[in-house]
Subunit: 119 residues, 2 copies
DNA sequence: CGGGATCCGTTTTGATACTG
DNA sequence: CAGTATCAAAACGGATCCCG
């Protein structure tokens, strides 16, 4: 994916894709929709993501103004991530993906059911 | 990205992301929304995509039932790709990304303008 | 000639071990 | 616990060859 594109593409879709067009960012976005989460929480909730990749993507999203990062001077350390206003404005995108995914799952389930019936 | 995930994830967002959560597929989708296009056309219209990657993603999308591929026995050869019904059902996703991108572009433009004003 | 398969060198991405 | 360093894996670009 574009690592923090400086120049914005002419096509609006390309602009959006440039900012969140990779699966990790979409997952991070989904996790942050309900509210702030700390690093370890994100790591636990996003299947198969490594610390490095999580860090990378969070930093990139921070640079892009999608998330904010708050470090608490505590021991053990705590770092919280949360959607910015811009990040929040992306909600409809995740939303529509969720709706589509649900529908797809239902249809796949129906198809499997029909196949079993026909045996 | 998941290369044609056999098992579908529990989370609907993950299901969707598994199918189209990579920038090339999103671009391909965008190009095919208006109607069928041939290989070379896609290649020309999608910036910086190589034939190999374009082929790979088109094949993957074909396997996933998102696009259909029609080969015409002609010289010079012609191969047309077009959205299936399933592919068409993804339209709202691209749509909402386009709307968001447009808005973002407008806001960035406004911000640049404001910055110039303040000098 | 257009679509695409394949080989290879490079860049990106990712998994793991290690540090404050 | 959160984040960096190191090393392995994959995605990608480009050249080349092929087939109709």
């Amino acid at each position: 994916m574009l690592p923090n594109s400086k120049e914005l593409p002419l096509c609006p879709v390309a602009t959006t894709v440039g900012l969140i067009g990779n699966k990790w960012k979409l997952f991070i976005l989904r996790e942050l929709l309900p509210g702030a989460k700390r690093f370890g929480e994100l790591r636990k909730r996003i299947p198969d993501i490594s610390q490095k990749v999580l860090t990378q993507n969070l930093r990139s999203m921070e640079e892009d103004g999608i998330v904010t990062r708050e470090v608490f001077a505590e021991v053990p350390p705590r770092v919280e991530y949360q959607l910015s206003e811009l990040g929040n404005s992306l909600r409809p995108i995740i939303s529509v993906m969720e709706v589509w995914g649900l529908n797809y799952q239902k249809n796949v389930a129906a198809a499997v059911h029909a196949e079993l019936e026909s045996l």
